[in-house]
Symmetry: C2
DNA sequence: CGTACATATGACCGCGCGGTCATAAAGGGT
DNA sequence: ACCCTTTATGACCGCGCGGTCATATGTACG
C-alpha cells in the first residue's frame, strides 16, 4: 500500500502538499496538483481513511443500530438509510441487535462509539433505546415522536400517527361503525404511535374504541389476531399496523368464511411491494421510508457539522393512502352471508 | 475522550500495560489488571478502534456491497450478513450501489478499501461485480457459483441451482408435462443459476423446455409475466424465481380467470414470511439466507486470518421445499374451466 | 525601491494505539 | 552464591495522515 509519502517522493513535493491536493485545500498550483495526481495514479495510491480519522478526529462515518428482525419494515428502512447516508458522503457502520434484548442496544451503541462514528441512527426505536441518549455524539431516533428529543438527540418521525389516522379515517368514511386495530409490540414507538392515531381518529368521531389486538408485526401474528377477530360477527373493519399482519388477518378471515372486503374490510400500513398483488389487493398506507431516512440524515449531518447550532425544522412526510380492493362499505345490517364469488380488483 | 495514557496515569502503570490488559496479553498480574480496569471504569475509557487500526494495520471490519434494491432477497440477505458478521466479532461497513450501474460496484469497493476493511462481501453478485476481483483483500461472492472463484476470491452459493431443481421437480412429480419459468434479470448469477437448475430438471426427464419469461424480481414484473403466460392454455405449471414474482404471477392468472392451483400450479422461491398467508398459500423453496451468510463469513474470516491457507470446504445448504396450496396435479386433459370455488388450504 | 499582501510550499508535531526490545523482579536448580 | 528461566513492566518507535506555523515566491501599491 503506497502512502502519501511515496506519492510525494515521486511527485517531487512534500507530503503536506499531497495532503493539500487530496483535501482540495487552496494554494496548490495547477501544475503541482497534476504532478501529484499523476504520481498517485501510477502508484495506485488510495487515501487511508483510518489514518485520516486518527489525525483529524473525525471519521465521516455514521453508525446505525437496527433490530435484527427479518420483518419488512426494519429491513427496508435499513436500505433507505444506507442510501441516505451515502448521499451525504458519509460511510455507514451497521450493528444489529436482537429485538427485545435490553442490553443489546446499549452494547451496540458502545461498539459504534469505539468505531469512532460521528453520529448514530437508532432505526425503529424501542423503549430500550433510551439508553443511547447519554452519549457524546448526535443520535437520531428514526421513527420516534419529536417529544422524545433531548439534548444532542434528534428524531424523525415516519408520521406513524398520521398514517394510522388516515387508515382509520378511510374505514370510517366508508361507513364502518368502528375499526378494530391489530397492533405491533408496545415496546416499539411505531406501534404506540399507530395506536394513538387510530384511537384519536375514533374518538374524534365519538366511536367505540375496541380493545387492541396485539401482534408482533409478523404475518403469523396477524393470522392469530384475525382468528380472534373472526369470532366476533360485529367486526367489519380492521386496521393492521403492518402489511404483513394485514395479510395474515385477511387469510384468517377468509379461512373463517368471511369475505374480504364484502364482510370485513382490512387496511394495512407499509405498502410493501406485494401488497398490490395479493388477493384481494391490499388497501394500505404507504410508509415513507426514503423520505424519513433522508430527512433524518439531513438533521444528523447538520448536528454533526454544526454542533450547537439550531436544527432545521423537520417536515412531516406526506401521507399516502393507497386504496385497493380490501376495503368496502360495511355489509348491510341484514346479515346475508351470501357465499358469492370474490371480486377481483386490479391494483 | 480519555486515552490509554490517562488510564495508565491513574492506575500508576505504563501505557503499554494498559494496552496489555485490553488486548488480554499474558504477563499481567491480577492486581495490576484490576487497577487498570478500575481506572478505565472511573474514566469511562473506551478503546479507540481507529488508533488501534492504524497501529496494527487491521481494522477487524468487513465491508459489504449490496444492491440498493428494495426487493425481499437482498434486504433479507443483508440482515443475515449483519448477524453473521457480528457473530465473528468483526464490524460491518455497508455500501450500496444501484442495480445495473456498471461503475457502481467498482466505486463501492474502492470506498470500502479506503475505509480499510479486512475483507469484502459482494451480496448477490451481478456481472458487474467481476471488477472486484482484483483487490488486495479477500472477497466473498455471496451467491455466486463456486466456478467463479479465483485467487483471493471466495464464493458461497445459496444453492440456487438446487433450489430451482427442487421447485421444478416438485411440479413434474405432480404430473405436469412441463414447467414454465419466470426468471430474474440475467445479469444476476442467482437468476442464471435458477434458469440452469430449472432447465436441467426438465432435460433430465426429456421434457420440452419452454422459453424463459423475463422478470426483474418485482411482483409487478411477475404480474406482467403472468398475463403473458395466461394467454397460453397449455401452461399448467409455473416456477417463478422469486416469491414476489410468484405472487404477481398468481394474481395475473386469477385475473385472467385461471384458478390456482386447479388450472395452473405456481411455485415460488424464497419462502418470504407472507408466503404462507397469501391466497392461495404459496408453495415455495426456502432460501437459506442465514446459512449461506454464516458459511460465507466463516470462509471470509478464515481467509483474512490465515492468508494463503487452504479453505475449508463449503457445504451446500439444505434444500427445503415448502409445499402449500398453490400447486396441484394438472387439470385432466378434458379442459373443463369449471368456475368452482377456490379452496382454502391452511399453511 | 521598499513595504504590504496574496500565493504557494515545506518542516515538524502529534493523534492513540500496538510492537519490539530492554529490563526488573521472582523463583528453581546446582 | 551462581546462572537461568519465567514473569511482569516500561521506554520508545512508528502507523499515515491533518494542522500549525514558518518560509519562499510572486504582485501591486505608494
Amino acid at each position: 500500500m503506497p502512502s502519501s509519502a511515496d506519492v510525494a517522493r515521486l511527485a517531487g513535493v512534500s507530503r503536506k502538499t499531497v495532503s493539500r491536493v487530496f483535501n482540495e485545500e487552496p494554494y496548490v498550483s495547477a501544475e503541482v496538483r497534476r504532478r501529484v495526481m499523476d504520481a498517485a495514479d501510477t502508484l495506485g495510491y488510495r487515501l487511508n481513511q483510518t489514518a485520516r480519522a486518527l489525525a483529524s478526529g473525525r471519521t465521516r462515518t455514521v453508525g446505525v443500530v437496527t433490530l435484527g428482525t427479518p420483518g419488512y419494515g426494519p429491513a427496508t428502512l435499513l436500505v433507505s438509510i444506507e442510501r441516505a447516508v451515502r448521499d451525504t458522503g458519509y460511510a455507514l457502520h451497521v450493528v444489529s441487535t436482537m429485538d427485545g434484548d435490553p442490553a443489546g442496544i446499549a452494547s451496540a451503541v458502545t461498539s459504534l462509539l469505539e468505531q469512532g462514528v460521528d453520529g448514530i441512527v437508532i432505526s425503529e426505536p424501542v423503549d430500550e433505546g433510551k439508553a443511547a441518549i447519554r452519549v457524546d455524539v448526535p443520535v437520531l431516533f428514526l421513527g420516534a415522536p419529536p417529544a422524545f428529543a433531548a439534548a444532542r438527540t434528534l428524531t424523525t418521525s415516519t408520521g406513524s400517527e398520521l398514517l394510522a389516522r388516515a387508515a382509520t379515517d378511510h374505514l370510517l368514511d366508508l361507513g364502518h361503525a368502528t375499526v378494530h386495530h391489530v397492533a405491533g409490540p408496545r415496546r416499539w414507538y411505531a406501534a404506540r404511535d399507530r395506536i394513538e392515531g387510530w384511537r384519536a381518529a375514533l374518538e374524534e368521531r365519538r366511536r367505540i374504541v375496541p380493545p387492541v389486538v396485539a401482534g408482533d408485526w409478523s404475518a403469523a401474528s396477524g393470522h392469530a389476531a384475525g382468528r380472534e377477530l373472526a369470532r366476533d360477527d360485529d367486526v367489519t373493519a380492521v386496521f393492521a399496523a403492518g402489511d404483513e399482519m394485514a395479510i395474515g388477518v385477511i387469510r384468517a378471515l377468509l379461512e373463517a368464511g368471511r369475505r374480504v372486503p364484502e364482510d370485513v374490510s382490512v387496511v394495512g400500513l407499509d405498502d410493501m411491494p406485494v401488497a398490490a398483488y395479493v388477493t384481494p389487493p391490499l388497501t394500505t398506507v404507504r410508509q415513507p421510508f426514503d423520505a424519513a431516512a433522508r430527512e433524518g440524515l439531513k438533521l444528523l449531518v447538520h448536528a454533526i457539522e454544526n454542533p450547537g447550532a439550531d436544527l432545521p425544522a423537520a417536515t412531516d412526510p406526506p401521507v399516502e393512502l393507497v386504496v385497493r380492493a380490501s376495503t368496502a362499505p360495511p355489509p348491510s345490517r341484514a346479515k346475508s352471508p351470501s357465499q358469492g364469488e370474490i371480486s377481483w380488483h386490479t391494483a
